[in-house]
Amino acid sequence: MKALIGALGVAAGFLALSVAFAQPQKPEKVSTAPMAYDPAIYAELGKAPEKARNRPNPLQNDPDAVAAGAILFEQHCAECHGDVAEGTRKGPSLLVPEVQNAPPGAIFWLLTNGVVRKKMPVWSKLPEPQRWQLVRYIKSLGGPAAPAESPAPKP
């Protein structure tokens, strides 16, 4: 019984510690509004190496890629970035020009590597084709064929 009480005590401590750690250090005003627009947030996209930026989307001409990407987005991304990528207080909007005009390869690179110091998880656990499907969906939100998008590779 002592072990059980000890276990429950440790569980409560563990929960309090990890929740406290996950919260911001400075108190903030109550807000459900999306994260304020800050160009610095999107600077991570610019850190993609040249080789990664130039990678074309192999699913550029796949007719199902956007629909599949929409389902993946809802499952994995909407919690932080909002149902239609409009942004929430946990994650920035993906509808802004910094994202919509970014090369598909840069978005793919960011998905693969995450920004772990800023709470964006690594998504390499999704297979490559699924990450490219997500890229297709994200790019589709900004309208047809953004100018920076690379052509599809020839088979």
Partner: protein, 297 residues
């Protein structure tokens, strides 16, 4: 009804309440390993509640069913912390609570690489009757488990366990290698062990339709784990080893089911370990708790 039974019933009720009371919002993409770890951590602020069972055959004693509950929380994108409660039933003997564990995993590199290291640190306080076999280390062998629970529960272990988790994903395949070093906090030498694994989704592209039985929802693989002796007798002599095909089914409704059939590879191993597990992710758990206590909304 004994206090352990009451604990089991209340614990199960609480677990079911928690699991069913959160609306689905995300879909887990979990690898199928039960013993080996990959380098993927829990998403920040999410809580994953998991239940696992191990049925094991026992020569020279009674077969057993060991079980554990895990509460896995993503404190940050580079730190996941996890709390376990263990128990077991030995057939023809008794059911008992066997201890708890507190595990932490730290991602060491900011970006994704060919091989990604994660540091694993765990404190465990268990009795000698603990049979979940979450890891095999040192000279753990089948005969350690043949004594009756009344004797085994008298032994208490406090251990620190360190692991270096190496993992990489290439062309859909995930490969993992875990090196284990455990120190019993009493005067017992360091013990060592290993776990290896490989897995791949049955399909790499996602379907354009929502589906439960699509091939991309199934991840199949194999894991192998065993002991490597201790500081004074390092090696394979008097150690046990297992090979286990594993499969995970990631349901769109947030649930993940895992199944593993482990086969002992030598005479010191249990002949057969059947494991299964069910888990569910609770997104935004940290924010929910914070709101409950009047914090940020």
């Amino acid at each position: 009804m004994s206090s352990i039974c009451r604990f089991g019933v209340l614990g199960s009720f609480f677990l079911c309440l928690v699991l069913f009371s959160f609306p689905p919002a995300t879909s887990a993409q979990e690898n199928p390993y039960i013993v080996a770890y990959d380098h993927y951590l829990e998403e920040p602020g999410n809580l994953e509640i998991e239940y696992f069972s191990t049925f094991g055959t026992q020569r020279g004693g009674n077969d057993f069913h060991a079980f554990w509950v895990e509460f896995e929380y993503g404190a940050t994108a580079w730190w996941t912390t996890e709390f376990y409660l263990d128990g077991q039933t030995t057939f023809g003997d008794s059911t008992l609570f066997t201890g708890y564990r507190w595990e932490n995993r730290f991602r060491l590199l900011k970006q994704e690489h060919f091989i990604n290291p994660v540091l694993y640190v765990e404190y465990e306080h268990t009795s000698g009757a603990d049979k979940i076999l979450k890891e095999v280390e040192g000279h753990d062998v089948e005969s350690d488990y043949e004594e009756p629970n009344a004797l085994l529960r008298k032994e208490h272990d406090q251990e620190m366990e360190l692991k270096l988790l190496l993992s990489g994903t290439h062309k859909g395949w995930n490969f993992v290698e875990n090196t284990i070093a455990t120190k019993n906090l009493s005067n017992v030498p360091w013990e060592f062990g290993y776990a290896l694994g490989a897995s791949r989704p049955l399909a790499l592209k996602a379907s354009a339709k929502r589906c439960s039985f699509c091939r991309q929802n199934f991840i199949a693989g194999v894991e192998m784990y065993g002991g490597l002796g201790d500081r004074y007798s390092f090696g394979l002599n008097n150690t046990s080893h297992y090979l286990a095909p594993v499969v995970a089914w990631n349901l769109p409704s947030d649930w993940t089911l895992r199944l593993s059939a482990g086969f002992g590879l030598n005479d010191q191993s249990h002949r057969f370990l059947l494991r299964w597990g069910v888990s569910r992710e609770v997104p935004g758990f940290g924010s929910m708790v914070s709101r409950f206590f009047g914090g940020r909304k």
